[in-house]
């Protein structure tokens, strides 16, 4: 289309049109207020309101983002979806896009550099629900893949619900397999339908991507590029849970257990394991515990910061605006086959695409090929090389050490790799190689000394990496880092441009190579000469790194020096006695020392601290205004002071900065300048910004957060790495190596890189156990109710565990009443025993994690409310008894209690009869045991049952069973405690039936009531109104019955006529009735006929439906046999 040429538009330069246009243009400059002005007042009002509302929607609760701005950890991007949806293809496409590498076996986390400020860690989540839970807790961005040709599957919804309960990360939906839909209109409809469903699930307007077919095993490049654009501009909102816990996604795992121990125990001993990864969340501190989901709680044995294996380009290495192509090649994926090399348990596989011939140097070779060729090139043994090598003490030393011929010890050291001499040896070798690339690389560069399990590192820098582990100081780390990066550049991409840069760097190094102690010799001398440098106590060292007692530290330098010497010299030490002095009290205030107080008798001494009071004049700059007593004066003084102090604070911060010269004049000028500055600022504050919208709550909070973060950064800016780690732990973004002891051997034995290993830091409170009360709601898609005392699997905090909850509801704020089942569509409380999580932590619960049940697996969701060591749940209990003797309002009740003691406990308790007569327990009776006297509001019957309603408190069972899925060989086959019903089904047991609990027909004899007889005597005494009005039946016929009636003839006639008329009428009605009956019968007949017809039709319809259903189930069963859970119709 584009090849068609168009005639260019030519502007007229004369005539009215040209003039007109120019005129119009003139007006167009700047913002045209009229264009957007509202037409009417009402409209203006609406517009204003809309703007305000829109402003409000952008506000979120200000949260602190603990991820540092410089050098943040890589963003975790999880690719999630059901099996067969194209996750791996997408992962490979993305890696290819970023790192220009084709992975054949992409497993585990893959870290790449995506921009100057951002790295990405991709991880593919398999279809196992345990993985989905773990990934959901750490992913920053989820690429949720949906098969467009099939639609949403249950796993997708399950995953979204998991995300919801653990803090929602960003989600981008991706529809794949759209090429399978051939018809354009169907495609459009499908897209629309799926998008609508996706939006209701996440939010209106959530991003949904469409991927069409696969080309060369990848998705089309344009589509992937579009996707990466969205990824690169994605902003992340801090999530509360992740912002209060340190965590890392392990991208490498090594087993450090001595081989011999493993061998002797036949692989069953507990292992020592190191995990590698970027710290995320908050600072990771040594001395805390961590939880590895699927494994358990483990204490951190040691943590070391390592050089970044996939560093961001630094400011000087990357001066361009865009990321250079070279940086794009950085990839860190120890668990996959970068460069065509894959490590198995006992073999190394090199994947060579196409044909391979040795000596063909033009074609750039993969890492694996290079390695094999290097191995072939070896002409010396290790022994020889060690003998030849020149060991220099420091990288910059000019003379090499003479090697001792004792090779055994040398080799030992080599294998331990803890010797700095060897390290420098390696360094020098690397440098050698940098200089002349023609020399083939020595074999030992690819050699490994630690046995590798399944994981791998970049082979070319194994040595450097391990040596970084043991680097002594920060500067070492930096140097090694440079060397490594350089090495990679040189080896991987022969690039001429590099040379110049390298040389420059080397020069820099030479400059640096002046020993540190020499560097600022002059400065120090000057300092010493000035004599200002007073020897101070290094409190941090004294407190944390010495074994001196606190008293020794306080009492002064001499004693400390002495004792520190003692430490070195003598093996035996005199036990310090005063620490054990039993008379030393743990007291709040020190006793007053009379002697030291004596100094205050001196007037001069008293005057010397005058400057500490507001009235005391201090600096000349303060002026003579000190004698005033006004409040304003005071305030001003104080503010001035405050500023001064602040300045001092700043001074301390840049410790390394130049020390202020104590020249009187200069300081005075400085002070003056400072004061002016303050005044100016004050003025500006008052007058510069008159309308200045008063910072609202939101902005205020944000400013506060920003100020605190700036302070956090500034406080430890100049401190050396070791001290910094001591105080603040390992910052997010650092690449660390975590050593764990006593790890179950199954974790190593059954290690599978496709299942993520997460190391989640625990807060002190979270290591404890207790009763956790949660608000819970059964998930509306889970189709069964949950039952008290049935085990449930919780995903709470980092953990996944099984516990036994008791459900309850708040009964009028008086008691927590147990529920047998969770209510429908309503929240209730649940209390279970387990590891504590902070209140307000969300969780989701499962009945089973297996794939055997086809329905929705998340059974409930909720939030933690309370943590305690006891639970206050009660259930109702009714005690029944029967009266055995009844007085007027008093009755003796038996069979409710068995002893008098029990009765005593319930004295005063309310009782009730079945008929509703209320009463009270009074006192126990001596006989029979457990009988008592009770009073009622009315006389009760002998047949009444008396019951007492009471509450029985129950405690949840102390059952906690962590889901140790990572320890299994088949990770999705974890089984916990089964439900009671399941146990019965599996064991073929019948539900126990208590004979007393069965429902039987109740036979009740008809009640017979005796007639009420009022004694004659009493009757006589009663007033007339109350007398029973009982009259004997009439025996003799009455007058009306007795008399004879004789009628007149007319009368008789009239009566006869009336009789006849009545008879006629009767007959008429009878006939009419008869007719009606006839009609009714006819209608009934008709209706019956119709009904029969209708039934026939219904029967036919039902038959049809059943036939369809039968076919469907049959088909499903067939598919079930074909593939596991979630079979799919695949149109191919």
């Amino acid at each position: 289309m584009d090849d068609q040429t168009h005639k260019a538009h030519r502007k007229t330069d004369k005539g009215g049109k040209a003039n007109k246009k120019d005129k119009g243009k003139e007006k167009q400059h700047g913002y045209n207020e009229k264009a957007f002005a509202p037409m009417s007042g009402r409209r203006a009002d609406r517009q204003g309101r809309r703007n305000v509302e829109r402003d409000q929607t952008r506000l979120h609760v200000p949260l602190v983002n603990r991820t540092p701005d410089e050098d943040p950890p890589p963003v975790i991007i999880a690719i999630v979806g059901p099996s067969g949806v194209g996750k791996t293809t997408l992962l490979k496409s993305l890696v290819r896009r970023y790192a220009k590498q084709t992975l054949n076996d992409a497993k585990g986390p893959i870290t790449v550099v995506s921009g100057k400020k951002r790295r990405l860690t991709f991880i593919e989540c398999n279809n196992d629900i345990n993985s989905m839970i773990d990934i959901g807790k750490i992913a920053d961005l989820v690429l949720l893949m949906v098969d467009g040709s099939f639609g949403f599957e249950m796993e997708t919804f399950e995953f979204l619900n998991i995300l919801q309960s653990h803090g929602f990360p960003k989600v981008i939906g991706i529809l794949s397999h759209l090429d399978l839909i051939k018809k354009a209109s169907t495609l459009k409809d499908t897209k629309k339908a799926l998008k609508k469903r996706f939006w209701t699930e996440i939010y209106q307007g959530a991003k949904l991507f469409y991927l069409s077919g696969v080309l060369n095993g990848r998705y089309p490049d344009t589509e992937i590029t579009n996707l990466t654009r969205f990824i690169s501009v994605m902003k992340f909102r801090p999530l509360v849970f992740r912002n209060s816990h340190p965590y890392l996604l392990a991208d490498r795992l090594e087993d450090l257990t001595p081989r011999e121990t493993v061998r002797t125990s036949k692989g069953k001993c507990d292992r020592t394991v190191t995990l590698y990864g970027y710290v995320r969340g908050t600072n990771l501190r040594l001395g805390t515990n961590v939880h590895i989901p699927g494994v358990g709680d483990l204490p951190l044995a040691s943590v070391t910061a390592l050089g970044d294996p996939c560093p961001l380009p630094t400011a000087d290495s990357e001066k361009r605006r865009k990321l250079s192509e070279k940086k794009k090649l950085l990839i860190h994926a120890p668990m996959s086959d970068v460069g065509g090399v894959m490590y198995d348990k006992d073999a190394v596989w090199v994947n060579v695409p196409g044909s391979f011939t040795r000596g063909n140097n033009e074609i750039p070779q993969g890492e694996g090929e290079q390695m094999v060729m290097d191995l072939q090139d070896v002409d010396q043994t290790l022994e020889d090389r060690v003998a030849q090598s020149n060991i220099r003490l420091f990288g910059s030393s000019s003379k090499a050490l003479v090697v001792d011929e004792d090779k055994d010890s040398e080799e030992e050291e080599y294998s331990e790799q803890s010797d700095s001499g060897i390290d420098s040896d390696e360094d020098s070798e690397d440098e050698d190689m940098d200089e002349d690339e023609d020399i083939p690389r020595h074999a030992d560069n690819t050699g490994r000394t630690t046995r590798r399990t399944v994981t791998r590192t970049l082979p070319s820098n194994t040595q450097e990496r391990t040596e970084i582990d043991y680097a002594e100081s920060d500067s070492d780390l930096g140097e090694n880092e440079d060397a490594r990066v350089k090495l990679r550049e040189d080896n991987d991409i022969p690039d001429d441009d590099d040379e110049g840069e390298d040389e420059g760097e080397e020069e820099d190094e030479e400059e640096e190579s002046i020993p540190r102690w020499k560097a600022n010799l002059a400065d120090r001398a000057a300092q010493l000469a000035a004599g200002t440098h007073k020897r101070r106590k290094d409190w941090i060292k004294l407190i944390y790194n010495s074994s001196l007692s606190p008293e020794e530290i306080v009492n002064g330098q001499q004693s400390t020096d002495k004792s520190s010497e003692d430490e070195g010299d003598d093996f035996f030490q005199v036990k310090s006695t005063h620490a054990e002095d039993p008379d030393v009290l743990d007291q709040g205030k020190e006793p007053l020392d009379e002697e030291s107080l004596k100094k205050w008798e001196d007037e001069e001494m008293l005057d010397s601290i005058r400057n500490l009071f507001i009235t005391g004049a201090e600096a000349a700059a303060e002026g003579e205004g000190g004698d005033g007593e006004g409040e304003g004066e005071d305030e001003e003084g104080s503010e001035g002071e405050g500023e001064d102090e602040d300045e001092e604070g700043v001074d301390e911060d840049n410790v390394g900065g130049s020390s202020s010269k104590p020249t009187g004049k200069l300081t005075r000028a400085e002070a003056l300048a400072k004061k002016k500055e303050i005044l100016k600022r004050k003025f500006d504050e008052q007058y510069d910004d008159p309308s200045g919208p008063k910072a609202d709550f939101y902005d205020e909070k944000k400013d506060e957060i920003a100020a605190q973060l700036a302070l956090n950064r500034a406080e430890f800016e100049g401190v050396d790495a070791e001290a910094r780690t001591l105080v603040e732990g390992f910052r997010p973004g650092q690449y660390v190596r975590i050593e764990l002891h006593d790890v179950p051997c199954e974790m190593i034995e059954n290690f599978d890189p496709t299942f993520p290993i997460i190391v989640g830091g625990l807060l002190p409170a979270e290591e404890r156990f207790g009763y956790v009360q949660v608000r819970i709601k059964r998930h509306r898609w889970f189709n069964r109710t949950l039952k008290t005392n049935d085990p449930l699997i919780f995903s709470l905090g980092w953990r996944r565990f099984q516990s036994i909850p008791i459900y309850s509801l708040d009964d009028h704020s008086i008691r927590m009443r147990m529920l047998k089942y969770t209510p429908e569509h309503m929240h209730c409380y649940a209390t279970f025993y387990g590891p504590v999580a902070l209140p307000n932590t969300g969780f989701c619960a499962f009945n089973s994690l297996g794939t055997d049940r086809p329905g929705f697996r998340i059974s409930a969701t909720g939030v933690v409310l309370d943590i305690d060591r006891s639970a206050k749940i009660v259930k109702k209990i009714k005690l029944t008894g029967v009266p055995y003797k009844i007085f007027k309002n008093t009755a003796f009740i038996k069979d409710m209690f068995s002893t008098a003691l029990e009765v005593a406990k319930f004295e005063g308790a309310n009782v009730r009869t079945v008929s509703g007569i209320r009463g009270q327990v009074k006192k126990a009776l001596p006989k029979p045991d457990g009988a008592f006297r009770a009073t009622f509001e009315d006389k009760i019957l002998k047949s009444d049952i008396v019951f007492l309603r009471a509450w029985y408190s129950i405690q949840p069972r102390k059952f906690y069973n962590p889901v140790t899925s990572l320890l299994l060989s088949d990770k999705s086959k974890w089984t916990g405690m089964r439900l009671t019903g399941q146990v019965r089904r599996d064991e073929g047991l019948k539900t126990p039936l208590d004979i007393n609990s069965t429902y039987k027909k109740i036979e009740r004899a008809p009640r017979r009531f005796n007639p009420l007889i009022v004694p004659k005597k009493l009757q006589a005494a009663l007033p007339y109104g109350s007398k029973p009005k009982l009259m004997a039946p009439q025996r003799a016929p009455t007058y009306l019955q007795k008399r004879a009636v004789v009628m007149e003839p007319e009368e008789r006639k009239a009566v006869a006529l009336m009789q006849q008329i009545r008879a006629l009428r009767k007959d008429q009605i009878a006939r009419r009735h008869e007719k009606k009956e006839e009609k009714k019968a006819e209608r009934a007949k008709r209706l019956e006929k119709e009904e029969a017809k209708k039934g026939e039709r219904e029967k036919e319809r039902k038959k049809d439906v059943m036939r369809m259903a039968g076919q469907k189930s049959k088909r499903e069963a067939e598919m079930q046999e074909g593939g596991g859970r979630g079979p799919k119709r695949r149109k191919t």
Binding site: R66, S244, T282, R285, G287, G296, D297, P299, H533, K534, R536, W539, I540, I543, Y544, P550, V554, A579, E580, P582, D586, Q587, G588, K589, E590, L592, E594, S596, L597, L606, I609, L612, F613, I614, G616, G637, S638, E641, E645, E648, G649, E652, Q708, L709, L711, N712, E715, A723, V727, G729, P764, A765, L838, P839, V863, L865, I867, D868, S870, T964
Partner: protein
């Protein structure tokens, strides 16, 4: 997998209270042994037992095991409960001994605490009720614990008879604020309470007079109250004391106190208190030495930000406390001289990274 139960192990009877407090706050189990094992009268003292009982009352699920000889205890802490409590303190120690740990724990309880303690209100080992009311509680306010925070001195009780009674009310918080207090300011006012129970009220006036004779030279804003309790409210023993506090422009507070002694004139007591106050003022910093531990603890428990505070040199118990904090919370302090340029400045700047301690005991909804 079995839950690894790790005990933190200490020996010696010193720093008993702070260790118990740290254990309860962090939830770590603690074992303390060799408690006066070499002494003629080995084992825990009555007041220590009483403190343990008080902590048991204030918490739910705490398990305390004391060995037969009383020289070793094992504490498995539960959750801090709060609520309305009452405790009779033994006469061997003042109420301050028991109230200090309670003050550290109370903000992190499940319910706001309302505790009544009975015993000696003022003695010469522990912080008196006056200092706790006027100095310790304002220190808690630095960390955002203020609404409903109150200490009422209902009755005074001098040693040895006791008979005093105080009521402590403390709200609960979700998280304490991060402290950034590096500016000590200048002293703007001095306040004081002189009390005399079961002696002539003139004593308090005499103490005030003596104290004013020194302090008047510095600032005019001095109010020293004479607080007299009569009859039943004045406890069982005679005694008098002067409590002084100096407040700076940035509301840093220094305090000192002197207690009546047999054979010492009230004027001398007044002078003694005044001079002790001047010593504190001279040491400077933003927090006086008696409250170092409280402030450092609250700094550690703050959110995961850098908290800074300028203080005088640590006392021996503070040093031990810093070490204990490291064992319990794995956090260390950065301690540098507050003023690099001034070689005579002995003040230090304590800064630490808060552990992000959240009150897990708090009930939601």
């Amino acid at each position: 997998m079995a839950q690894p139960i790790s005990f933190i192990h200490f020996s010696g009877h010193q720093h008993f209270r702070s260790r118990l407090v740290l254990s309860i706050l962090s939830g770590r189990h603690v074992r303390i042994d060799k408690i006066r094992s070499e002494d003629k009268n080995p084992g825990l003292r009555d007041y220590e037992i009483s403190l343990l009982r008080l902590l048991e009352k204030a918490t739910n699920g705490t398990i305390i095991e004391i060995s037969v000889t009383g020289t070793a205890i094992l504490l498995k802490p539960g959750v801090i409960l709060g609520g309305t409590l009452q405790h009779e303190c033994p006469l061997s120690r003042a109420i301050g001994y028991f109230l200090e740990p309670i003050i550290m724990l109370a903000p992190f309880a499940k319910k706001p605490i309302n505790i009544t303690l009975m015993g000696i209100t003022t003695d010469d080992h522990d912080l008196s009720a006056d200092i706790l009311r006027t100095v310790t509680l304002p220190h808690l306010q630095l960390f955002g614990i203020s609404e409903g925070l109150e200490l009422r001195i209902k009755k005074r009780g001098a040693s040895p008879g006791g008979g005093g009674e105080v009521q402590f009310l403390c709200p609960i918080v979700k998280q304490v604020n991060t402290l950034n207090f590096v500016d000590a300011g200048k002293i703007k006012r001095i306040r004081g309470v002189a009390h005399a129970v079961r002696v002539t009220p003139q004593f308090s006036n005499r103490m005030i007079e003596a104290s004013r004779s020194i302090l008047n030279r510095y600032i005019p804003d001095i109010y020293l109250y004479s607080d007299v309790y009569k009859g039943n409210e004045s406890g069982k023993s005679p005694g008098y004391a002067l409590t002084l506090l100096a407040e700076s422009t940035t509301s840093a507070i220094y305090c000192a106190e002197a207690i009546s002694e047999a054979g010492v004139a009230p004027e001398d007591i007044g002078l003694r208190a005044t001079r002790a106050l001047l010593t504190e003022v001279e040491k400077g910093g933003c927090v006086d030495q008696k409250h170092q531990i409280l402030v450092l603890l609250m700094m550690v428990l703050g959110s995961e930000d850098v908290g800074r505070c300028r203080m005088a040199e640590p006392m021996p118990k503070t040093i031990q406390f810093l070490r204990d904090i490291r064992t319990f919370f794995a956090t260390s302090f950065k301690i540098v001289p507050a003023d690099i340029s001034d070689p005579n400045c002995s003040q230090l700047l304590y800064s630490c990274y808060g552990t992000g301690y959240v009150n897990a005991n708090r009930t939601l909804a």
